[in-house]
């Protein structure tokens, strides 16, 4: 819904051994309603970068602008979904979790419930509005987390490996569901993953990062028609191309890199 500019962002960690550069001079733009996946090996700073975009961390240099405004902290223009299932508030029902952001906005109870129910329907959990998180499976909890991040209608959705802790079958269902949700809401999405197939399935564009320090290595547009078929020749070709950027050896196409 709104464009994002990531402009020469550098981030440093304080470690006992001194300052370590986690992300170095990263720049790219994201168009309105674009679905961008950031992939890279662990340690490339992709999650850190997402945390900077979310406003949880401040960059050492450079800046991030969302719709022209520089990010200085977290804000309600962004919704965040984490990997850990424990992100939900265990003392609130699914409905209570989803309405939290609306509550913070000062929206009246009846309206809050109506919107929250609608969001839970979007992630196909309308039967579980009154369930507490510990009665829901991991996949269901992540769906509640997505509904919660969407409920207060942020223009940007930031997702940090939200399906990484799920089993493969549930993950497939969740990717399908997320693609549907994205089509319905047209949010600008930044999605961090280390799963190449997942990135190709979901993204308009894949940003490949390399590690030590984290930099942008490639910026690849995925032009496959949606809904995408992970078993099609084009999909697999795309996957090979991306793997090569990540430095994997891909059979039949010679050595990568």
């Amino acid at each position: 819904m709104v464009p994002i500019a990531i402009d020469n962002v550098t981030l440093e960690y304080d470690t006992p051994a001194g300052k370590v550069t986690g992300v170095k001079d990263v720049s790219f733009d994201i168009g309105a309603s674009e679905f961008v996946c950031i992939v890279g090996p662990s340690g490339c700073g992709k999650s850190t970068l997402l945390n900077v975009i979310a406003g949880f961390l401040a960059p050492a240099a450079g800046e991030i602008r969302i719709d022209g405004k520089t990010v200085t902290g977290h804000g309600m223009d962004r919704g965040v979904v984490f990997q850990d299932f424990a992100q939900l508030f265990p003392w609130r029902t699914a409905l209570g979790n989803v309405s939290f952001g609306l509550e913070m906005k000062g929206i009246a109870k009846a309206e809050r419930d109506r919107i929250a129910r609608e969001q839970l329907r979007l992630v196909k959990l309308e039967k579980f509005v009154d369930s507490f998180p510990h009665h829901l499976s991991g996949g269901m909890q992540q769906r509640v987390a997505i509904a919660r991040a969407l409920a207060y209608n942020p223009s940007v959705l930031l997702m940090d490996e939200p399906f990484a802790a799920l089993d493969a079958m549930t993950r497939d269902d969740m990717q399908l569901l997320l693609a549907d949700v994205w089509r319905a809401t047209r949010k600008t999405v930044i999605y961090v993953t280390h799963n190449v197939a997942e990135a190709i399935y979901l993204a308009d564009r894949v940003i490949v990062m390399s590690a030590h320090p984290g930099t942008v290595q490639a910026d690849i547009r995925i032009d496959l028609p949606r809904p995408r078929d992970p078993l099609s020749v084009e999909f697999v070709e795309c996957q090979k191309q991306l793997m090569r950027h990540l430095g994997h050896k891909v059979s039949g196409n010679g050595a990568g890199h």
Binding site: A54, G55, F56, H74, G75, M76, R78, G79, V80, F82, D84, A86, Q87, F89, P90, W91, F100, G101, E103, M104, K105, K124, K127, F128, F132, P133, H134, H135, L136, S137, G139, M140, R148, A149, Y152, M169, D172, D173, L176, L177
Partner: protein, 283 residues
Amino acid sequence: MTDTIITSTPKTGASKGSASMSDQSKSRRSLWRAAVVLIIAACCYEAAARSGYFAPALMPKLSLVAQTFVAMLLDGTMIEHSVFTLYRVMFGFLLAVLVGLPIGILMARFAAVEGFFLPLVSALMPIPSFALVPLFMLWFGIGNLTTILIVFYAATFPMMFNTWSGVRSVNPLWLRAAGAMGADENALFWKVIIPGASPFIITGLRQAFLRAWIAVVGAEMIAASDWGLGWVIFDAKEFLNTDVMLAALVVIGGIGFVFEKMVFGSLEKATIQRWGMSRVAKG
């Protein structure tokens, strides 16, 4: 693919139902077990009392204890003693909560507060409240003030300590998520930190009450006059009224049990057990 989602959902519902069923039968079974153990213990006592090994005046039969208990109940003295004791314990306990809870929270949030109170807690918590009774008696006299202050002393530190641990253990992800959803300091405090720390806060309330209940009976023995369950026991000693002592002990145990199981047990059931936040350690 959506089908798999839908077929997976009733399974969760079913397992939820069976879990609560087994919980219910489990609690009924543990109740039975407790009753059986108590009956066995009572039989052992009765056998010892009837053996003639001890003088009957020192070890009265259960029937006599029951008689005394009913008589004291009917003439209202036992109720009045209990009311006095409950008044002291509740007053001191509530005071301890009012002081311990906010200080525990402040300790967890501000390093300076923690730096000030933590050594104090470490130094004062191990002192048995009973050891302070003679001193408090000299300072505050005999009666309600001393007993309430002893209760307060006994209950404050567990309340403070558990609250402090609880607030520190709040999952940072909850704070992040809430912050991202626009929660201000006030909302973070009431809607995330307090419920997030609730398992520890409830444990704190439980421990504080238990210590308060033990402290009040001890304090009443020395520092109360005319009323209170502790005073009854101490007073009965002068006249060798072991039946009165035992009857008072039954009341002390009974009230403690009611608070532990009914009050704190149901508080736990309605909150952290319902939310899946209590790690139940029993088999």
